[in-house]
Amino acid sequence: MSSLQSLDVVARSATTLPTPQIRTAAPHVAKLIDESKCIGCKACQVACMNWNDLRDDIGNNVGVYDNPSDLTPSSWTVMKFFEVEPTEGNLEWLIRKDGCMHCEDPGCLKACPSPGAIVKYANGIVDFVSENCIGCGYCVKGCPFDVPRISQKDNKAYKCTLCSDRVSVGLEPACVKTCPTGAISYGTKDDMVAYGNRRAEELKERGHQNAGLYNPEGVGGTHVMYVLKHADKPQLEDLPANPSVSPLVSLWKGTTKPLAVASMLGAMVLGFFHYMKVGPIEEKEKTEKEGA
């Protein structure tokens, strides 16, 4: 997807230019996935593939309900099923719609080396601009949620766009539109946080004492949030408890970058001054002396 208006882009991968920051009135948007209402029907998966013209391979059954069994370049969202017993003997079947979390502080964008291949819009959506993607896979390393997938066909990275094309013309994302049980909602981030917290309270009243909103601070919050029955143990559903952009990635695309450039340029400058000060070492004197 590409942005319709460059003013919408508030962060752009691999750029040394400041991005426009003036459009502050654009409300942050968010998708809220209420796990307590999700029945794992995969309608969102089908809506996603239909809206985005994606058709994944017809795979096989590997012994689980998850199909495709993981995110792929052609499956930007998949339902993941977890049979867990948070307390002994109390089986729960947790079903989580997996896909891009649209971090406020996106690790993929930080890691991406290709200018403008990953952008963040003023409304908070993190989008891959595929024509700029060079297929290096750095976004995969940058992402704390293991979301981007790189196609074997065209060597480009793909993930959920939060239907940035629909959103930009005032529609809700396709998965939200299709969800039959109202498990997926969409609105401004503020509204969704408020609604999510309210749902968590309602779930606590129903006996899910640890219900809560998953909107991890470590990545500055996300524009896709979950209401979890066990917000104290997101690991139950393969979600990191305290996700953040890996310090290794921060080091790599943070501190290392200027240090390395400075050291390389510095070495050359140093050499230049050294030469000017000390001058070359020449063989002449001796040979001349000897020859004389």
Partner: protein, 815 residues
């Protein structure tokens, strides 16, 4: 559904049992989540598997397949013994006070009147005692040991929690927890809804499964009330429409019981089907049967149906034997059928015991398959390796394939589970030579009529005289058909004489030629025609009401009265008179659905299901279709007994009916029909020790969507499910290929090993379940697979003959 999808939002408690609404009805399930969020309703799921419905439930209890009656009978015992019933409701709206006949008895698994040879009952000792006035005798104190209430209490006292748990495998504490949650809705201001589907119907005791639940709902006072009811969730977008319009040999359109060999005259036919009130002042609505039937005959034969020829009664086929799908294939298998027109149906995949079906199809001279897709049935003769191991050189059946349009390619209506008929326009033209089914049938008819006209034949009239008023005889327009179904006045319909002023001249209610506004206008003198009395009013004088799309809900009770048209009479909740007490006040003032305003029931949220001017003191019952005016706790109409009783599936992992352990003849339903050869094809627990069940997955619709790429992607390949314990015993790991065998066939598929299916403790022994989703076959874009019905037994419910797909025996091994 007695209620509607949108009404579920009014409930306090949802019970999902005999179905998996989240899985099979995800769109309708939104009303469950709505009730849970907005009304804080609770959701209980009782199922052999921890299903997707269970995933979002407040409480889940496991149960062994085929033991629902034992479970529910235990609930009845709990309610009665702990006095947790809505007594005022029960006295007002059920036959609890009615006295049963003296000769009625139940002993050792049999009700009185059993004939073991014919596997059926002489029902003369069942039913009520009547007085000299023809009315049923009652005991309002409920103390008479012969009253239905006491008989019921006695019958179900045997279902102790301990015994229920031993039969069902449901741990006692879990069973009692469910009982308690259900019992809480006996309070007048609490309502429970039950959503079931094929998990109850596809048993040899299917009809009684549902009846047991209906009894519970009556005892709790939940019928006819917003948020209540017994709600069958239908599996196809228009399967309700098919049932309503009749595709069965047993009934004509609108559930009019079809004539049999015994009904040799119209008078006799009508007499046995026309109801007479069994209690004073009851509406006994079936007393209008002659009007419905005569109008139907006028729709069939138009001017050719006259008083003189008994409205063409003689041209109707008289059923001489059973013609349900099992009977049909039995006949085919015996080589007694030449041809088979198979329309929108894939029996090779959808009927039990594939081996028998395939052998039957091979004995036909011709098979016509009308379907939008290339079905397995249409290629039953083709070898697909182990998936369909037949020898085409030995099959002489000539197969014709007529491509038909699919739902989006034709104009017409859907009738959904809520009984709402919705008109829709076609979205695209059908591809290639595909034609709407109605056009194919019409062309066939026109051709047949021509042939009869030309060549004559034995009794040509039923074809020659058929009313065929369509502009294009070869392609009736759906609008023409729906108008015909609704019915119209053939002559002026006059008002009946006013009892208060008998001398007043009658007025014209509907002018000749006009569409009828409802079934109240139907007449038995040939002055009206109506293709389906329950649909009358759907296309009345004001136009096509099924095309309405007004989604306003004035009362906020989920009624949506101007969205489409709900049969009957646009009524959204059946028996809704029961939502109010004896004085006509709503049981729950916060859900005021219908109330007596001193002169009328009208003006409420819905169309009253009672004569609008029937004052409460007249005691007109809410169950107007029953001659007794109340609902039946004791039902004579059932084949296997007036009270539901637990019988094991025909293939039982226990081998004994713990309700009558010494009676080997009452292990399974003693009134179910079993064909010769099928009895031998039943497997025994020694060889096939595991309880198996088949079911649908949310990603697919039956055998259709395996032809659709999107569906294939999200659920690509066949699998079976077993619990962790069984997997361990058998050395099967996640994703291994396994072979599942029954006494009739086998299926090889990937294995999903799951914690969601636990071994149950049944009568001191562990019973494991094997779950078998049905959706794969040898045609389509999914991975090919074995037809699940290679495994299932060829036996059906004693009343409806619905096959027992949900409970049989298998063995499993690593492939």
């Amino acid at each position: 559904m007695t209620n509607s999808w949108t009404d579920i939002k009014n409930t306090d408690l949802v019970l999902i049992m005999g179905g998996n609404a989240a899985e099979a009805h995800p769109c309708g399930f939104k009303w469950v989540t709505e009730a849970m969020q907005q009304r804080k309703a609770k959701l209980i799921v009782v199922d052999p598997r921890f299903t997707r419905s269970a995933a979002v439930a407040d409480y889940y209890a496991p149960i062994r397949v085929g033991t629902d009656i034992a479970f529910l009978a235990g609930v009845i015992n709990y309610l009665l013994s702990k006095d947790r019933i809505h007594l005022d409701y029960v006295k007002l709206n059920t036959d609890a006070t009615f006295l049963t006949k003296e000769g009625y008895a139940f002993e050792d698994g049999f009700f009185s009147g059993y004939n073991g040879e014919r596997r059926s009952y002489d029902k003369s000792t069942w039913g009520y005692q009547t007085g000299k006035d023809g009315y049923v005798l009652t005991d309002d104190t409920l103390q008479n040991p012969l009253c239905v209430f006491q008989q019921m209490k006695k019958h179900y006292a045997r279902y102790t929690p301990e015994l229920v748990s031993r039969i069902t495998g449901t741990p006692q504490d879990q069973f009692l927890k469910v009982c308690e949650m259900l019992a809480a809705t006996s309070a007048p201001d609490k309502v429970m809804t039950i959503c079931y589907a094929l998990g109850w119907t596809q048993h040899t005791v299917g009809s009684q499964n549902i009846r047991t639940m209906a009894m519970i709902q009556l005892l709790l006072g939940n019928m006819g009330r917003p948020g209540g009811g017994v709600n069958a969730l239908r599996g196809h977008a228009n399967v309700q429409g098919i049932t309503d319009m009749c595709a069965y040999s047993e009934v004509l359109s609108g559930y009019l019981s079809a004539p049999t060999d015994a009904d040799d005259t119209r008078a006799k036919y009508l007499e046995t089907r026309t109801g007479k009130p069994l209690r004073p002042n009851q509406m006994a609505f079936t007393q209008n049967f002659p009007k419905w039937h005569t109008s139907l005959m006028k729709a069939y034969y138009g001017n050719a149906a006259t008083k003189d020829n008994q409205f063409a009664y003689d041209w109707l086929p008289k059923r001489d034997a059973a013609y349900d799908i099992l009977a049909m294939f039995e006949r085919m298998h015996q080589g007694k059928m030449n041809g088979f027109l198979c329309q929108g149906f894939n029996p090779l995949a959808a009927v039990p015991n594939k081996k028998k079906l395939s052998a039957g199809l091979a004995k036909l001279k011709f098979l016509v398959v009308m379907d939008p897709l290339e079905t397995e049935t249409s290629e039953f003769w083709k070898n697909y390796g182990p998936l369909n191991d037949v020898d085409p050189t030995k099959i002489a059946t000539e197969v014709f394939r007529f491509p038909t349009s699919c739902f989006a390619e034709e104009t017409g209506t859907f009738t959904n589970s809520s009984r709402v008929i919705s008109w829709k326009e076609k979205a695209v033209d059908p591809p290639g030579l595909a034609k709407p089914d109605s056009e194919i049938i019409a062309r066939l008819f026109v051709k047949l009529r021509e042939m009869y006209a030309k060549d004559g034949g034995t009794l040509p009239e039923p074809i020659a005289a058929l009313n065929w008023p369509y502009i294009n005889a070869s392609a009736p327009h759906p609008a023409e058909l729906l108008r015909e179904i609704n019915g119209r006045a053939l002559a002026d319909v006059m008002s009946p004489p006013d009892p208060k002023n008998p001398a007043a001249p009658p007025t014209v209610l509907v002018k000749a030629g006009d569409q009828l506004p409802g079934f109240a206008m139907l007449r038995d003198d040939g002055s009206t025609s109506c293709g389906n009395w329950i649909y009358a009013g759907c296309w009345g004088p004001t136009g096509n009401l099924t095309a309405r799309r007004d989604n306003s809900d004035p009362t906020g009770l989920g009624v949506f009265p101007n969205w489409g048209f709900a049969w009957p009479a646009n009524r959204r909740i059946l028996y809704n008179r029961a939502s109010a007490d004896a004085n006509g006040k709503p049981w729950d003032p916060s859900r005021k659905y219908l109330a007596w305003n001193g002169s009328s029931w009208a003006g409420g949220a819905d169309i009253p299901d009672i004569r609008p001017d029937a004052a409460p003191e007249q005691g007109v019952g809410a169950f107007i279709m029953n001659p007794e005016g109340v609902a039946r706790l004791h039902a004579v109409g059932m084949a296997e007994g007036p009270f539901p009783e637990h019988y094991e599936p025909f293939e039982t992992p226990v081998g004994v009916n713990l309700m009558c352990p010494t009676n080997a003849k009452a292990v399974s339903n003693p009134a179910a029909r079993v064909y010769k050869g099928d009895l031998e094809a039943f497997g025994r627990k020694e060889e096939f020790p595991y309880a198996a069940t088949t079911y649908r997955l949310t990603e697919h619709l039956h055998y259709w969507t395996k032809h659709s790429r999107s569906n294939a992607i999200v659920q690509p390949a066949p699998f079976v499910e077993i619990g962790v314990d069984l997997a361990k015993e058998k050395g099967i790991r996640q994703g291994d290929r396994v072979r599942v065998k029954s006494n009739r066939g086998e299926v090889v598929a990937a294995c999903v090993v799951t914690k969601r299916m636990k071994a149950l403790d049944v009568n001191g022994k562990k019973v494991h379940h094997v779950g078998i989703p049905i959706h794969w076959g040898f045609k389509g874009v999914t991975q090919n697979g074995y037809l699940a019905n290679a495994l299932t037994p060829f036996v059906g419910d004693a009343n409806s003959q619905t096959p027992e797909f949900k409970a049989f025996l298998v063995n499993i091994e690593k492939a």
